[in-house]
Structures are given as structure tokens and as C-alpha cells.
Symmetry: C2
Subunit: 251 residues, 2 copies
């Protein structure tokens, strides 16, 4: 379902971020007012957003969602244009990073990856307009509202996006189980990098692997080559962050 | 639901692991026979396990599960005794590691953590018998059958388990958002370690923090202190593995 954000944390993050138009917030009469609900009311009042206490029947259309008694009617997230993103990052001092998702099918994985990207300080996320779960309200909820805190770039062609990044002095890193190099052998702190993570079953497409500067693997133990894609993304992004923080400490 | 394992990968892993008694495997008549289904049939035949092709109605009790048309009726996982685990690891050459889960509530998180532990080469997982999601068939499915590949130790008291580990030359590392040290400042390759991960909201209990030798944090960017617990576990365990593999390479 589009046009709503549900759950206390997601609604709170949407209010805090302030980059999407919130039409109305519905709060169930039947829930206990805790500190998060109070904060939602306070922020809505500050920003002049209508909030209504409503009966159980108003939540019926949303019963499939784990809404915790709070729903915001909201404008869809605004996807960022790839050219604007590259221009913006080129103007910035220091290096930038972006995660490219090649056909993630599961909304839980997409939400968890977006959340991890924000925690690890990644500058943007590129998704294809086809073959990928889009950023719907489930993804918003799983991300705990992180979708409002990071540019999400939707492109018609991932290979064209990769080419544009390369033309602008970005290095491309793809992950593949049969790679020779380990992910921690890359020096992430010393370049603009795009990290391509593949679909749950198919992995990164051949054309994208071919266009990449580095192809790396996560070394798997116990012959169990089945790490969840959000956990794989986390391992690599926090290694990149570790390198950056240690490099800055040494300076 | 206990007593079943569902989904192609989970049933395949249970057959491969061979450590749980499989009573019967049900395969839906309506699904396409792919390479995984063929492998399930082949392994079941080798091991003398009954498999039946059944109509849709037999799957009705399981319709809430994403079973992919395959269900195995199976004995519950056998939890490992903490004393046996410690004795076993003490007899082994080299260092060992274990992840201690302090009250994980979400079956998806528990399954993802078990899967990550197997991929990262952790030697065991300790869960409390209360206040933690138990290893049911959803956890089994999410773990992609990884529950069969790692000792899972259930204890009545986490603090007693920690004390036993300490008495046997293990070092205890707990995670806490307000810690001073970063997780990558610990030298994991040079000791037996237990990594304590806290519940989704409450974090690691005070008594366990107090009993720990190291308390570490994952440095969070963007003031967004909301990394999912399975992604946090992944970041730390793969850092530990990285250190070990690099240390071994240098030897």
C-alpha cells in the first residue's frame, strides 16, 4: 500500500524528516499514550498537521499491517535523479558512497538494507524501476523511517547508472560468491564507491559484474553459502566505515 | 508450530545434516519438480525416509507458512548442554566463539542471526529458556536450515552461563549503544569469546553488561541509532572473522 506510513517509529521519523507532505495522522483511541505517541502529537501540533483519535473501525483497511495504532497519510517518497545525485556529491568535499540494489525481491530485505545504509553513513541507494521491490509502506516500516533520511535513486537502467558513476570518478564494487578477493581487501576510504548487491537468489547480473572495477566475496564458513543479503550488506558497509574511521583517526 | 520444517532449503538442510529424525516428507502434487525437489527425493530415498505426493488439502493446516509445497515432519532440534559445549570446545585446538542472545523477540531476527552465525563460523549460540523466541519452524525456515548446523544451547540463566564461560577462559564481549569502545577495537582472534547481543528494544541486561570484560558499540552515522539486531550481529561477527583470517594469513 502506498500513501501511508504506519508504526510509531516510522511516523515519528517521517515527522522529523519533514521532507514528505503529511495529510493526516490517525491514532487509535484504544492505544496507551506512551512517550512516542506524545512526541507524535507534539510534532504534529508544531507543524500544523491534523491528528485524529479514531475508533478501531478506521484501522480496518490497514489490519494486515503492524501499525501499532498509528498511521500517517503521506505523500510518496520523492526519488532522487541520478544526475542530481552525482552533481551534488561531486560538489561535496571528501568521498561519497552509494549502494546499488540489483533486483531485491523481499520488502523486509529492502527495508533492512535501507536502515543499515543510514546507520553506516552511506550517501544514497540506487534501485531499478523494474525487477526490484519498490519503497512501499512495508519497506518504510521495516526501515524504521530510514527511507526519509537517505536519497533513494530510481533508474531505468542500472548499467547506465553505473556508467555515469564511472564517468564521474566513482569505483564500482560488485559482490559475487565466486570472486577471488575478499570484501575487506578493498580500500573503501580512498575513493567514491558504489557497492552492488545482488538479488536474493540470482546474485548480481553478469553485465553489472563485467562493468565493475572490483568483484569481491564474503568468505563463508561451514560451506554454508547462504548469508541473507541485508546481513551481507551490513558486513561490507561496516567494514568500509571501519576503514574510514580508522583512517580519519590516524590523520 | 513445532515438529515441522518447511520450504525447500530448510528441508534439504535437515536431510543433509541428518541430526534430527524425519518421520515423513510431504510434497505438493501441484508444484513443479526443480533441482531442489529432485535432491530432496534422492536424499529421502537414500535415507529410507517416506515421501508422499499429496493434494492441496494436506497443506491446509500449514497455509500460514511459506512452505513452497514441501514440508517435513521432524523431531524438534536437540538443544546442547552448556557444560558439554564448554568441555567439547576446551578439548579442541584453537579458539572458539559463541553468540549469546539476551531476549530476542522476533523469529525473523533469530533465524537471520543463526544463519549469519553459521556463515561467519561461530561455534554455538546460547539462548535463555525464557524471554527469548524459541527455535520453532519459522526460525528454522528463516535460517535456511542453519539451525541444524550449529549447536544451540538453551540455559535457564544467562548470567550463570556467562560465569561458566569465564571460569573456562572465555572472554565476554557485550554490545551497548553507550559504550566508549568500538567493536573493531577488540582483538577477537586471540581468545575464546562470547558475544552478547541484546533484545530489539531493551538491549543487553545490566547484570550481563556488568559481568562482561568488554562493552563495545557499533559507531552509528546520521544520529540514526536503530540498526537491526541481526545486521548488528553480522557487522561484528564478520569483523571477528576478518581478523582471524588475516591473522592466519600472516602466520
Amino acid at each position: 500500500m502506498d500513501g501511508i506510513v504506519y508504526g510509531k517509529n516510522s511516523v515519528l521519523e517521517a515527522l522529523n524528516a519533514g521532507n514528505r507532505e503529511i495529510n493526516k495522522i490517525l491514532i487509535s483511541k484504544n492505544i496507551h499514550t506512551d512517550s512516542k505517541i506524545s512526541k507524535i502529537k507534539e510534532l504534529a501540533q508544531q507543524k500544523g498537521i491534523v491528528f485524529q483519535f479514531v475508533g478501531r473501525e478506521k484501522f480496518q483497511p490497514y489490519e494486515e499491517f503492524n501499525h501499532q495504532g498509528v498511521i500517517a497519510q503521506i505523500s510518496p517518497i520523492e526519488y532522487v535523479d541520478i544526475d542530481d545525485f552525482i552533481e551534488d556529491k561531486s560538489a561535496k568535499e571528501g568521498y561519497s558512497s552509494v549502494v546499488v540494489l540489483d533486483g531485491i525481491e523481499d520488502a523486509h530485505n529492502l527495508g533492512a538494507i535501507i536502515r543499515t545504509c543510514v546507520c553506516a553513513g552511506v550517501d544514497g541507494i540506487i534501485i531499478p524501476s523494474h525487477r526490484n521491490t519498490q519503497v512501499n509502506s512495508t519497506v518504510d516500516k521495516i526501515s524504521q523511517g530510514a527511507v526519509n533520511l537517505i536519497p533513494i535513486i530510481k533508474v531505468n537502467s542500472l548499467i547506465n547508472a553505473i556508467q555515469k558513476l564511472k564517468d564521474n570518478n566513482w569505483w564500482i564494487i560488485a559482490t559475487d560468491a565466486s570472486a577471488n578477493d575478499n570484501y575487506y581487501d578493498v580500500k573503501y576510504h580512498d575513493m567514491n564507491y558504489a557497492l552492488i548487491m545482488g538479488a536474493e537468489h540470482a546474485g548480481v547480473s553478469k553485465s553489472l559484474l563485467k562493468a565493475s572495477d572490483f568483484v569481491v566475496k564474503i568468505p563463508m564458513q561451514n560451506n554454508f553459502n547462504s548469508l541473507n543479503v541485508s546481513n551481507a550488506t551490513s558486513a561490507i558497509l561496516f567494514e568500509a566505515l571501519r576503514q574510514k574511521l580508522i583512517f580519519n583517526r590516524k590523520k
